[in-house]
């Protein structure tokens, strides 16, 4: 049984880069579908081979693509792309086509929107919300962005709400560029100093672009705000589980600790911790066998990592080692094998 791993309607897979999150998320999603659930896996630009394995292409940036069906259960996959989602949100939520056009033609939006820090994470949340609200799925598995500061996405809804409420935005919304004359004198003097300073350092054109962007964007703010709030509630809901994937060995423990601390601080529900790519013990080693000595070292190192993690969380939660695969899964068949292995490991 995969009970421990597939608890919850939303499973968020988190962990540092290079620990195998995407592969594990895909294997879990496939397993969930095979157990009869209507399942969606959302992933950020997975490698080409995994795209092939799941049989999804660029089109999955728009709509989830059906990967397989098995009785009542099925697996859909969606690819996340920040700029793509942003554009689509603007088309969907702008009050009229002219407003959307104003945003699309803004230089700041065109050049920078996709690069803004936190945007990728926020857009993932928007997409997640959309999918969850559609009611088409029993289980959604979210593979988080491949960044070391991946926990940014937990703060993304809050950050969006703060931004919308912030003084900076209200300030930008004030017409101090064109008809500042209507403002009272003290305000004008205070603003003038600050503006001259930032004008000198930052440059007027840039400021104008940003202000214009914020103004064009303003009609959408309320919608962003309320959805951000709902996303935050969704992430903290009881039926949402976070699965932490950690790399093997003591060197990777600080990364895992970082994620654990963040999740605890933010009050999210943590499921079991998966320690991936653990080297198995190669058995007895002849004295002069260099290669096996290395394998033995790696197995020992990975056991030390597990022991360290367990000592830091005594009895608190399940820590599940997953053995390094000789060949990484690359198609539905090998992903299914990996899921079977996960289910048997977790039942012990």
């Amino acid at each position: 049984m995969s009970g421990a791993l597939l608890t919850g309607r939303l499973i968020v897979v988190v962990g540092a880069g290079g620990v195998g999150k995407t592969t594990l998320a895909a294997a879990l999603a496939l397993g969930s579908a095979k157990e009869g659930r209507r399942t969606l896996v959302m992933t950020f630009d997975p490698s080409l081979r995994l795209k092939d394995a799941l049989g999804v292409a660029e089109a999955a940036k728009d709509e989830p693509i059906r990967v397989m069906e098995d009785g009542p259960g099925f697996l859909d996959a969606a690819l996340l792309d920040a700029k793509h989602t942003f554009d689509r949100l603007i088309r969907t939520y702008a009050p009229d086509p002219a407003a959307a056009k104003r945003i699309f033609s803004n230089r700041f939006y065109r050049d920078m929107a996709g690069n803004l820090s936190g945007i990728l994470e926020y857009m993932a949340m928007e997409r997640l919300f959309e999918m969850q609200a559609s009611g088409r799925y029993d289980c959604i598995i979210l593979d988080t962005p491949p960044t070391r500061q991946a926990m940014d996405f937990l703060q993304a809804p809050d950050r969006m709400m703060n931004l919308v409420d912030s003084k900076a935005i209200r300030f930008a919304m004030d017409p101090w560029w064109d008809d500042a004359g209507r403002k009272n004198l003290a305000f004008r003097i205070a603003v003038k100093g600050a503006m001259e300073l930032s004008d000198r350092i930052i440059g007027r054109r840039f400021l104008l672009d940003v202000v214009e962007f914020i103004r064009a964007f303003a009609p959408l703010f309320d919608g962003f705000r309320s959805r951000a709030e709902e996303v935050r509630n969704l992430l903290q809901a009881d039926e949402t589980r976070f699965l932490l994937v950690a790399g093997p060995g003591p060197d990777r423990v600080p990364d895992a600790m970082f994620f654990l601390r963040k999740l605890k601080e933010t009050g999210h529900h943590l499921g079991p911790i998966l320690v991936n790519q653990v080297h198995p013990d190669p058995g007895p080693v002849a004295k002069n066998d260099e290669g096996l000595t290395l394998l033995r070292f790696l197995a020992g190192r990975d056991q030390r990592g597990l022991a360290l993690l367990r000592s830091l969380f005594p009895g608190e939660r399940k820590i599940i080692p997953i053995a390094l695969e000789p060949v990484p899964p690359a198609d539905l068949r090998t992903l299914a094998l990996l899921f079977d292995k996960l289910s048997t490991t977790t039942s012990i």
Partner: protein, 291 residues
């Protein structure tokens, strides 16, 4: 001229690659090698969770410069602190400077302005090299963050220069972009693992660097290679894992070589934990691996 000779001629080298491929260890290894050649090298780490000091066996930097051997020092740098330092420099009245750095608007600008943080970090490296700092530094190696695509960091000054054209910030960013584009002074080293996803990302990064910035990496280092299997090895589970991983490593390196004709060096997995012993062993292997 060997590839290490070429790198030794640089002023700024950015070490980049996907998360978990050994960028930090490679940064330490390159620093050690080039300091051994008599260069005064500063290693800049950007990750707030410091780990470079572990690789070299020193105290954590905590923002300051820490000596890690003759000619070699490390510094952990946070972009927010660098930007706040810049404001204090531009605004000589401490009260006003504090008002600015404490304001919500300032923080939102720092968070939101495209490429600002990255530009501030690279700008710090530029100032260490050219700002008359004593003792002088010949070479700065940046252990680039693994956030998103690493090309973002190198593209940042150009992006910011364009966005903030006309102001002081734009002018600074523009100078920096010109410095980064100068192939005789700045170089890029890519760290990778000979596994599917890291190789895929390396190939994409090579293409992106060429298309967007006209940069060709000086060197690609494949870390953590399983050693070749000795002939006539027996069949057992340990060995079949080893054989499969080695085969995977070779296949992925071949895939990389099919579209990369530049320098490519391999570093093996070693039975050593992260630390100075590992860095020294890898440094001497890298020196020997050079053609």
């Amino acid at each position: 001229m060997s590839v290490l000779d070429r790198i030794a001629e640089r002023q700024l080298v950015v070490v980049t690659g996907k998360g978990g491929v050994g960028k930090t260890t490679l940064t330490a290894v390159l620093g050690r090698l080039l300091a051994d050649r008599g260069k005064r090298v500063l290693l800049l780490e950007v990750d707030p969770r410091e780990s470079l000091h572990q690789a070299l066996g020193t105290e954590p930097s905590g923002g300051g410069i820490v000596q890690a051997g003759p000619g070699l020092s490390i510094q952990n740098l946070q972009p927010d602190a660098v930007i706040e330092g810049l404001v204090r420099e531009k605004v000589p009245i401490p009260y006003l400077a504090r008002k600015i750095t404490e304001s919500v608007a300032f923080h939102q600008f720092v968070e939101g302005a495209p490429g600002l943080k990255e530009t501030a970090l690279l700008g710090h490296a530029y100032r260490v090299l050219h700002g008359g700092h004593r003792p002088r530094t010949d070479l700065v190696i940046v252990d680039a963050p693994a956030t998103g695509h690493s090309a973002t960091m190198l593209a940042a000054p150009g992006l910011l220069a364009q966005a903030a054209e006309g102001g002081q910030l734009g002018a600074m960013a523009s100078d920096l972009a010109a410095f980064l584009a100068d192939a005789s002074r700045c170089g890029v080293v890519l760290a990778t693992l000979a596994e599917e996803m890291p190789i895929q990302e390396t190939l994409e990064l090579i293409a992106l660097l060429r298309a967007k910035l006209g940069i060709r990496p000086d060197l690609i280092v494949a870390n953590g290679m399983y050693p070749p299997l000795p002939p006539g090895a027996a069949q057992d589970p340990g060995r079949s894992l080893w054989r499969a991983r080695r085969r995977l490593n070779e296949a992925e390196l071949a895939r990389l070589s099919a579209s990369w004709d530049g320098s490519l060096l391999e570093l093996p997995l070693l039975p050593l934990d992260r630390g100075p012993a590992l860095v020294n062993a890898l440094a001497s292997l890298l020196k020997r691996a050079e053609p």
